[in-house]
């Protein structure tokens, strides 16, 4: 490579990044015309030029709305850990500390294991949990800390905690988890038939479904197929298998209540066929609408559910919930509030009405309408003093400041 080739390589790179002046581009072209090697190398950077010209895929409007809500919710909470200023410690100090931490960790593998906070909780290794797994059981219920997650175990709950994978394998019962978001390492709860991946939230999982109290979780089928998102105030329940399950498959959920479902919900491939309804019936339309919503296509979701408004109560309430959620994904929160109010008014004494009532209060709160939020939360607690979101509603109500003087 000649000195002029070295300079040409630098100019080629600058040119790809859009940093070369007109004179430099002419100089580069003159060199490339006489040097086959540099010309080939420059041509090989063409994919990078093309990448520069392309606009990368961003988030869908619904995903952006989820992020907005989660980030704003996160801002009102204390950071998980204060940012560290290493200052004069520098790289060497940090490495030394990391080495010491690693040595301590290697010497005491159980030091960061589950810690019982209260109640009746037993912790044991083995029992088919694998070398990294720890079995946590509770006969009468209790609280335990799993890594950075605070968890409450219901009665008769059994799970396996794998710290390295930051995952819980739920074997029986129900667990409520409060966990902070951690980039790149999702907290997971796996059941025999579905997987819940956490974006940073408080949520409850049993073998039949998941209910989110704060933040958002992602739900996958057992085979990894993404099913959708469950946002705060929503719950998702496994659909009942249409065909008898094979002997080794887990039993079907005892009761399957249609509740706000974020996306099409095929159950485990071994437990049921992916579709259990006619492809053109109202149930199919609801499924299609949920999928459209999961893709961020709110208009399509509304078009699909509108004909269902006047059908049977169970179908109509689902359609109304999807209708309300479609506005939420577009950031049209006033319309979303109206949609949820319709659910509350027209479908009282349904699980959806309870979720919708709480969603109204939550939306008002998130948009800084404190008086309306307080009224909404009080209304929810009046209707559902022991409801699914009663604790969250009380917390929010306490947290809302008094109106400005």
């Amino acid at each position: 490579m000649t000195p002029s080739c070295t300079r040409a390589s630098r100019l080629s790179l600058a040119s790809v990044g859009g940093h070369a002046s007109e004179a430099e581009r002419l100089e580069l072209e003159a060199h490339l015309a006489t040097c086959a090697r540099c010309s080939a190398a420059h041509a090989e950077l063409a994919p990078v030029r093309a990448l520069r010209a392309a606009e990368p895929d961003g988030l869908s409007s619904s995903a952006r709305e989820r992020v907005r809500r989660a980030a704003l919710a996160g801002a009102t909470r204390a950071p998980a850990s204060a940012p560290r200023r290493w200052g004069p410690v520098g790289v060497g100090g940090a490495l030394a500390l990391a080495s010491i931490a690693a040595l301590l960790f290697l010497g005491r593998p159980a030091a960061d294991g589950p810690r019982v906070v209260s109640g009746d909780v037993a912790i044991a290794r083995g029992s088919g949990a694998g070398p990294e797994g720890v079995v946590v059981t509770s006969a009468r219920g209790g609280e335990v800390r799993l890594g950075d997650a605070e968890t409450a175990l219901a009665r008769e709950t059994s799970l396996v905690w794998r710290r390295d994978a930051r995952s819980v394998e739920l074997r029986a019962g129900s667990v409520t988890i409060d966990v902070e978001h951690r980039a790149g390492q999702h907290f997971q709860v796996r059941t025999p038939r579905f997987l819940v991946e956490v974006i940073g939230t408080r949520f409850t999982v049993d073998l039949a479904g998941v209910r989110t109290e704060r933040g958002t979780v992602r739900v996958f089928a057992a085979d990894g197929t993404p099913l959708g998102y469950v946002a705060a105030g929503q719950s998702w329940t496994l659909p009942a298998p249409a065909a008898p399950a094979p002997a080794e498959a887990p039993p079907a959920p005892a009761a399957v209540t249609p509740r706000p479902v974020p996306a099409a919900a095929p159950s485990s491939p071994v437990a049921a066929p992916a579709r259990t309804f006619a492809d053109d019936g109202p149930s199919a339309r609801l499924g299609q609408a949920r999928r459209a919503l999961a893709r961020g296509n709110a208009g399509e979701a509304r078009r699909l559910v509108e004909p269902i408004f006047h059908l049977g109560r169970e179908l109509a309430v689902e359609a109304r919930v999807i209708y309300a959620e479609s506005f939420l994904t577009e950031g049209r929160y006033t319309d979303a509030v109206d949609g949820y109010e319709t659910v509350v008014r027209d479908f009282p004494r349904t699980a959806q009405a309870e979720s919708a009532l709480y969603a109204v209060a939550q939306l008002e709160s998130e948009h800084g309408r404190q008086a309306e939020a307080r009224a909404g939360l009080a209304r929810y607690l009046a209707h559902y003093p022991h409801g699914r979101f009663a604790r969250e509603a009380n917390d929010r109500l306490t947290g809302l400041t008094a109106p400005a003087q």
Partner: protein, 230 residues
Amino acid sequence: MLSPLSLFPAATFNRIRGFGYDHEVGDPRDLTSPAPAGEDPALLAGCRAQDPAALDAFFRAHARYVERVIARLTGPTPDLEDLVQTTFIQAFQSFARFRGEASLKTWVTRIAVHVALHQLRAGVRRALPLELVPESHEPEDPAPPADQEAASRQLARRLHALLDKIAPKKRVAFLLYTVDERSIEEVAALTGSSKAAAKSRIWFARRELLAMVKAQPDLGPLVAATERAS
């Protein structure tokens, strides 16, 4: 346990000089920039006071930009939502330390770059769920897609698959320089490195990428397909 941010290259406290500024590079959330602030004082005060309306306005003003910065560095990923969320949560929690010497855009860019870098360094890249990959993106299709947008997406996937084999610091510096059109000085400031280190990383990434592209002759028609309609 170290916080994720403590693992960032913020521990390398270099002095950056050039283009009329001279400052220390440390924690990206504390870093100030030579760029004039020029921000809405009311918005800034609201963000510092954790006013939800101000934070919301900040989010709406910068969300798409942050998505683009991260997507360009990581490539197509199912974790984009997660990474954007992390960026804004860290920004919201750090406003109290924002000194207002840099623009908010520059400041949030630094956080986004470090969140992307951390993700790449953690090596937890997951396959894009099939549901999120349009059929035209399937890599086994030997013929370049007919329309420019599909070809462009396929090329991005292919190129980022190659970039996955390059060390994250080099990859990020290279992409900031070549794809995001940042100057060497900006690359250095955004990645918390010296100018010399930034240059070196860009150069070595180029060399490694060229060797890989050479072994992928089918990228040529794909590039041609992306450029046909542009």
